[in-house]
């Protein structure tokens, strides 16, 4: 079963929620849709589910029109960001609800409910009402209901965004195993977190302002972001992007003294460029670019140091947890061999060499 969207557009109150969205969702693949809040990710899922109409465009399922199929005949399961369950039903009946609607035999319902609750680790909570469960457990109930249906389209709208991070870490790891044997189902998962998109996705679609701005295998999107916008979206913290110039074999970036053009950028025409550098490729050093620390964040096991050099803000990602004071003067080392070069409109011109990868990629 393949879903094919062509030119889907939806605007309301002068805002484009979807703009000319064309994409193919293939069976047995996990598609992650990454974009910032309000990029149109939720709207896209709602259109695929039949919960929202579009202004124009077409949607087909195995070549047959799917836009006019009502929600209840789409064989689609969805898990919302908010933990949505039926408040009046206990966990068992919550999971059984769609199976009863589908008119399955009693024993079959029983079997699937048991099985899917066991898989999400809620076998002992069958008698509870959703309101008696923690947020993480409520979301597991919603996932169990989606699992039990064995639906042909599975949609996940930032399912773990409202959970705290230890739980998110755990569920994210379980997720791939849970849905690895969904056979021919089309699985679509939206997120704002690049690590999640990369880790879960067989295919990554990047959305921005209602458009799909890039789609491809995770490493393709990550290693060769088509534009500066994509580069910012698929990196957390966002990729540092700053203006610069190439003049012969000299390169100037962010108003800093000129240096030699690194090997991978050799042969680029003279002129103005935008350069990109991942937060992991800017580091604290004993000497280098001087900047002032404006903010420090800690994320899991990394420290993100935000600093301003002249007028250019930088963010550095440093492994481990470090105590860096606000307002401190620091030196940053930019790694020229890791520079991405974009033209003035923001389209990718040259990317740094990719590392050797065991499987997939080059």
């Amino acid at each position: 079963m393949t879903l094919h969207a062509t030119g889907l557009s939806l605007a309301a109150d002068g805002v484009d929620h979807l703009k000319e969205v064309t994409a193919t969702f293939r069976p047995g693949r996990l598609h992650t849709v990454i974009g910032r809040t309000l990029a149109g990710k939720t709207t896209l899922l709602r259109v695929l589910a039949g919960l929202q109409r579009v202004d124009s465009g077409s949607l087909t399922r195995d070549g047959a029109d799917f836009l006019r199929t009502p929600v209840w005949r789409r064989d689609t399961a969805m898990v919302y960001q908010q933990f949505i369950n039926y408040p009046h039903l206990d966990v068992r009946d919550n999971v059984a609800f769609p199976l009863r609607r589908a008119g399955l035999a009693r024993e079959e319902i029983e079997r699937r409910v048991e099985q899917s609750l066991a898989r999400v680790g809620l076998a002992e909570f069958k008698e509870r009402r959703p309101s008696q469960l923690s947020g993480g457990q409520q979301q597991r109930v919603a996932i169990a209901r989606a699992l039990a249906r064995e639906a042909s389209i599975l949609l996940f709208d930032e399912p773990f965004a409202n959970l705290d991070y230890k739980l998110r870490e755990q569920l994210r790891e379980e997720f791939k195993t849970l849905f690895s044997d969904q056979g021919d189902a089309v699985v679509i998962y939206t997120t704002t977190d690049p690590a999640e998109a990369m880790m879960l996705g067989d295919v990554v679609l990047v959305m921005h302002e209602g458009r799909i701005v890039q789609a491809g295998a995770p490493h393709e999107v990550f290693d060769r972001p088509a534009t500066t916008t994509v580069a910012r979206i698929v990196n957390d913290p966002p990729m540092n992007v700053f203006p610069g110039r190439i003049d012969g074999d000299l390169i100037t970036v962010a108003g800093l003294p000129a240096g030699g053009v690194p090997g991978h950028l050799a042969g680029l025409a003279d002129g103005a460029y935008q350069f990109g550098l991942r937060a992991t490729d800017v580091g604290l050093a004993q000497s280098g670019v001087e900047g002032e620390v404006t903010f420090v964040e800690i994320s899991g096991s990394e420290t993100f140091v935000h600093a301003v050099a002249g007028q250019t803000p930088f963010v550095m990602q440093i492994e481990g947890i470090h105590d860096v004071a606000l307002g401190e003067q620091v030196f940053m080392r930019l790694r020229p061999e890791r520079l991405f070069a974009f033209d003035e409109e923001g389209a990718l011109v040259r990317s740094p060499a990719c590392e050797t990868v065991l499987a997939g990629g080059r």
Binding site: A49, L51, W72, I84, H88, L89
Partner: protein
């Protein structure tokens, strides 16, 4: 100062309690008096101040010199239950539509439609009674139970719609959506996913309907004559030039008893926490 405050608080509460309970006390004592005791000034303590008799109570159940309130009671019950049930069914369907779908006719939007429903209760009943009279006459339903049920539905429907719209707005829309994704069409989504979660709202709406339906006097008075009579009508009919206060009191207490029982039941239901917290 801090010691005075509780004293003040409880005095105010006690005064208010007397003010509310006073008329009931009066009616309760009067219903057990005879003509002499009633004429003998304000007395409240049975056996000490007057000799209690059950004449008033016997009178309302067909005793000599009284009326039978059982017939009117059944009429009232029939009209109230039927009209409330119809109003709840139609009202929650209408409210669900108003809560979930957007309607627009010119400048008229959902909120205007809800206001239109409620506005029917703003008009003085006198304005409505003439058209109702005419319509029932044309349909041949004057002085009949079905006629009175229809009129009462018209009165109760706005209340049901108003209460239920507010309640449905509080149920996340995602629950309907999920039900439809789970294979329900819009109607089964309503009956299987939304209604079971709406018991608290339905209870409140049903209570309002019951109270307003039960207490209606004006329309019953103007639209029924000889064939049927409702309880409020029967009670008022007792009020002749020399009112039999004991019978009147007994009838009045009997008339409000179903509402008191209903209130006690709903209150218990409320305190068990069944109403609040059903959603989240």
């Amino acid at each position: 100062m801090p010691r005075l405050y509780p004293a003040f608080k409880y005095t105010v509460i006690a005064l208010w309690a007397c003010f509310v309970a006073g008329p009931f006390m009066w009616a309760a004592t009067t219903s057990f008096k005879d003509a002499n005791a009633v004429q003998g000034g304000a007395t409240y303590l049975p056996w000490l101040q007057y000799e209690p008799t059950a004449t008033g109570w016997r009178n309302i159940f067909g005793g000599s010199g009284g009326v039978d309130v059982l017939g009117p009671f059944l009429n009232s019950a029939l009209v109230t239950v039927a009209a409330s049930a119809i109003s709840l069914v139609l009202g929650s369907l209408a409210a669900y539509g108003l809560s979930r779908f957007r309607y627009r006719a010119g400048f008229v939007k959902n909120s205007d439609i809800v206001f239109f429903f409620v506005s029917q209760r703003i008009m003085p009943p006198v304005v409505l009674v003439v058209p109702f009279f005419y319509l029932l006459q044309v349909a041949g339903l004057l002085d009949t139970v079905p006629g009175l049920v229809i009129v009462t539905v018209a009165l109760l429907l706005p209340i049901a719609v108003w209460v239920m719209v507010d309640f449905f707005n509080g149920i996340p829309r995602e629950i309907d959506e999920m039900a439809m994704l789970d294979g329900c069409n819009p109607l089964t989504a309503f009956t299987r996913a939304i209604l079971p979660n709406s018991l608290p709202g339905l209870t409140v709406a049903a209570m309002f309907c019951a109270v307003f339906g039960w207490n209606d006097f004006f329309f019953a008075f103007r639209l029924t004559f000889t064939e049927i009579q409702t309880l409020p009508q029967a009670i008022v009919a007792l009020n002749s030039s020399i009112p039999p206060w004991w019978t009147l009191s007994a009838a009045a207490l009997f008339g409000i008893s179903p509402l008191v029982l209903l209130a006690i039941w709903v209150e218990r239901y409320l305190s068990k926490g069944n109403l609040s917290g059903a959603i989240r």
